[in-house]
């Protein structure tokens, strides 16, 4: 008990007195976590998108001109229903389409309310018995009058794949650059810390401190810095995400087949990952930086 208390006291007085080093380490770890956080956010959203796409994979959506009447559309549906490979046909009003969209967007749905008019068309939804029929059915359906366009998964998948790839490449480049910078900063910080503390470590060994006693406060200091960095970067990412979703929302709406991953889910997971990472980076940094000074 006493030794834990003494260790805690020491850790906090060290943090207090090594403000420069502490600040530098804090910045480095926070920077790394922010980079990883951006990566995480992008990846999570891309994953959620591609999962939604798979779900829609066996469906063809036939978008109708606004001028098409209910009678005409019923006729079209009969025509389509007769085609080989069609499992069933359903009519989807533009209102229903918007409702569905909002549902997918969940808590960000209010962004869609900002649109002045409903941009969605009435549509006929075709479910296929097998995805292999997609091409022939699309070809046949496109000959029918009154059809604005046909979207089926292959299109979306291709479009999305391209977009996804682009986002991944861009974030990868950004991450590589930032990680390289962070690693340089962290290793320099650790080097400085070790140099600044070499004497202290030697003195402690001379007067009979055990290695764990010497490590204790340094370790705890690293862990505390890691946790603080985790809190800062999780909060920053959360704020940025909230802000970005709010701003990108409407423009992105037409590109994204699904809404953004909800904030609470994201932050909860991000925070757990950040704390684990921050603590590991902090603790490892401390232990590694001391290793060569604790001969035995």
């Amino acid at each position: 008990m006493t030794s834990l208390k003494a260790t805690l006291r020491q850790a906090f007085s060290q943090i207090n007195r090594n403000k420069m080093m502490t600040t530098a380490s804090l910045f480095s770890i926070t920077a790394i976590l922010l980079v990883l956080g951006i990566f995480f956010v992008v990846i999570v959203n891309i994953n959620s998108m591609s999962q939604d796409i798979k779900r829609d994979f066996d469906q063809i959506q036939v978008n109708l001109y606004d001028s098409v009447t209910a009678e005409q559309s019923a006729d079209m549906m009969n025509q389509i229903n007769a085609m080989q490979g069609v499992a069933d046909v359903a009519y989807q009003t533009r209102e229903t389409a918007l409702e569905n969209w909002k549902e997918k967007w969940g808590e960000n749905a209010d962004l869609l309310d900002r649109m002045p008019t409903n941009p969605l068309p009435n549509a006929i939804l075709i479910n296929l018995t097998d995805i292999a029929y997609a091409k022939t059915i699309v070809a046949a359906v496109s000959k029918i009058n009154g059809i604005e366009n046909i979207s089926y998964s292959q299109d979306t998948v291709d479009k999305l794949l391209r977009l996804t790839r682009m986002i991944q490449i861009v974030s990868l480049v950004v991450i590589i650059v930032l990680v390289a910078i962070s690693i340089t900063v962290v290793s320099n910080t650790i080097k400085l810390t070790v140099l600044a503390r070499e004497r202290e470590i030697v003195i402690m060994r001379y007067i009979g401190a055990t290695n764990w006693f010497i490590r204790g406060p340094f370790l705890l200091e690293g862990i505390v810095i890691g946790v603080i960095a985790a809190v800062i970067s999780a909060a920053a990412i959360g704020f940025l995400y909230y802000y970005a979703v709010g701003h990108l929302g409407v423009d992105f709406a037409l590109l994204m087949p699904t809404g953004f991953v909800p904030l609470p889910f994201l932050i909860e997971n991000l925070f757990i990952i950040f704390v684990a990472l921050g603590v590991s980076i902090g603790a490892c940094g401390s232990i590694i930086s001391m290793r060569r000074f604790l001969g035995r």
Partner: protein
């Protein structure tokens, strides 16, 4: 009791100490003298097991220092108090915390520490500086703090490696007086020094080494100038016996 038997230590090609045989009994006050590079600090580090001997054995309180496992080393060191010429104190701790640190290491209760540290600071005459940082006090005062920390846990042996090396003669003498006081309480004192005045005035046992070898060991010995080819400025300035 400390006993070196045929102890040798090389650093690569450099000779640290060579074939040292010496025995120091409990309660003794011993000066270890010799020119710089003679191996005095090596002698001390071997005893503290900061380094290991290549040959020979060092017996300390009935055990062989070489046979200590890493886990036993901290306890071994705690049975000794150490004072250096410099880099003795932790720069980011106050005087009080520096001294308290010796007790935290041995996991003494917080209240015991709070009670005993002021007593020891009083003993070495630096109570007024308790809340200052090492950089805010004089070198002489720093050395008192180091001595306070070294005697905090009632060590069997106090080792002082050139504790007066950076001090002016008057301050040096004050430190000597403190060390004598510690010795009178029954603690063995091993003091490495360059100061001819101190050695000559104290009339204690003198062990002299040169080029790693023990060249002289006499009770009530004097400092032989021919054994030192590197007199320090402090020695040159002050001549004659100084009052104790």
């Amino acid at each position: 009791m400390i006993e070196y038997k045929n102890v040798s230590k090389k650093y690569g090609k450099n000779i640290g100490v060579a074939d040292i045989n010496v025995r120091i009994d409990d309660g003794e006050f011993v000066f270890l003298v010799g020119p710089s590079g003679a191996g005095k600090s090596t002698f001390v580090k071997l005893l503290l097991k900061m380094i290991d001997a290549d040959k020979g054995s060092i017996m300390y309180n009935g055990y062989d220092v070489a046979k200590l496992t890493p886990r036993m080393v901290p306890r071994h060191r705690r049975s000794m108090g150490i004072v250096f010429q410099d880099f003795s104190l932790l720069p980011k701790k106050t005087v009080f915390e520096n001294v308290a640190f010796a007790m935290e290491i041995v996991q003494r209760p917080y209240r015991t520490i709070q009670r005993q540290v002021p007593q020891v600071l009083e003993l070495v005459g630096i109570s007024a500086e308790a809340n200052k940082y090492p950089t805010e006090i004089s070198i002489g005062e720093q050395q008192r703090v180091a001595i306070a920390r070294a005697i905090m846990n009632n060590p069997d042996v106090l080792i002082a490696d050139e504790p007066t090396g950076n001090l002016d003669p008057d301050t040096g003498w004050e430190i000597m007086r403190l060390l004598e006081q510690v010795n009178r309480r029954g603690t063995t004192v091993l003091m490495v020094t360059h100061s001819r005045e101190i050695v000559n005035a104290m009339n204690k046992r003198v062990v002299a080494i040169k080029d790693g070898r023990l060249v002289r060991d006499e009770l009530g010995g004097f400092y032989h100038p021919e054994e030192d080819d590197d007199p320090s400025p402090a020695q040159a300035k002050t001549e004659g016996a100084l009052p104790l």
